[in-house]
């Protein structure tokens, strides 16, 4: 008579790393996250259009900032997510790290494209040009190209575990661009204004403009978190489908 083996107690790190457990705990949080995202967007848009003044210099085009700054912030936040996922892949071989990196890349590209698009539409009436090859804009365009390169790499490899290690190295190398974007406005003479929110001496704008900016940034960040969790779930299930399809072929052959 056989006795069932006792399941070893997993430490917290193993628990996080287990894709099955991730699928279990992430399922009930998707809908609340989506609802919270929608609510914060509603509040943010209300502030952006009905409860914030026109800027004394920019006029109403300041309202473009309420979608430009959050998408620009996400273009770097998503890369940071991929950066830490890459470390998780290379150092700990964390099974969810490469899933996280793969799930994030297309969203990073989308938010970077939106930041460039809204920046151009703000620049035309404010600076008189849609585009200028200055430090901030050029380094952000390079970020978009890095994202597109990483997405292409994911599609190049059949073996996704091997792809994860190669792409993790590329992601770490590409991360050099993030401080370049951040400090480009300090290092080079640029059209883009310097840092105005995250400053040691506090934001340089009044609360009436800072509030919609922060609420919209929270809304976009929640959107990314919701979509990222969902995309990770889809990627885990997609790998499961691949395994089952291989299993089916093996069953058919035997």
């Amino acid at each position: 008579m056989s006795t069932p083996l006792a399941t070893p107690k997993l430490n917290w790190f193993s628990q996080i790393a287990n894709p099955g457990r991730f699928l279990a705990w992430s399922k009930p949080i998707i809908v609340p996250l989506a609802v919270a995202t929608a609510l914060v967007f509603a509040v943010g848009l209300w502030f952006a259009f009905f409860n914030s003044p026109a800027d004394y210099q920019m006029g109403d085009t300041v309202r473009i900032m309420y979608i430009h700054v959050p998408t620009a912030w996400l273009s770097q936040f998503v890369y940071a997510t991929m950066f830490f996922s890459a470390i998780g892949t290379l150092v700990w071989r964390h099974p969810l790290a490469d899933v996280s990196a793969k799930a994030a890349a297309p969203m990073g590209a989308a938010f970077t494209a939106m930041a460039l698009f809204t920046g151009a539409l703000w620049g035309r009436p404010t600076w008189g040009t849609f585009w200028e090859w200055d430090g901030r804009m050029t380094s952000t365009l390079i970020l978009l190209l890095i994202y597109l390169g990483i997405i292409a790499l994911w599609r190049t490899f059949e073996d996704q575990l091997r792809a994860a290690r190669v792409i993790a190295v590329v992601t770490l190398v590409g991360a050099i661009n993030i401080p370049i974007i951040k400090f480009s406005v300090d290092w080079w003479n640029t059209l883009h204004q310097p840092t105005s929110v995250l400053r040691l001496d506090g934001p340089t704008m009044p609360g009436s403009i800072l509030t919609p900016l922060l609420v919209m940034t929270l809304a976009f960040t929640l959107l990314f978190i919701t979509l990222h969790v969902q995309r990770m779930r889809t990627e885990i299930l997609r790998r499961r489908v691949s395994t089952l399809e291989r299993q089916r072929v093996m069953m058919a052959e035997s």
Partner: protein, 56 residues
């Protein structure tokens, strides 16, 4: 709705573009999730299950 001033076109285009991009992103995420779930269900209906026997 407030008046958007002399540069209203730029503001409307910016919001329209981001709204379209965001909705497209959400749409793609939902469609991909449904496709993978449907494929998984089809395989399981054919009796092909993971060796560990767990289902998602």
């Amino acid at each position: 709705m407030i008046a958007l001033g002399q540069h209203a076109d730029f503001i409307i285009w910016a919001y329209a573009g981001v709204t379209l991009g965001t909705l497209a992103l959400i749409g793609v995420v939902i469609v991909q999730a449904r496709m993978v779930n449907a494929r998984l269900k089809t395989l399981e209906a054919q009796g092909i299950r993971r060796r560990s026997g767990r289902s998602a």
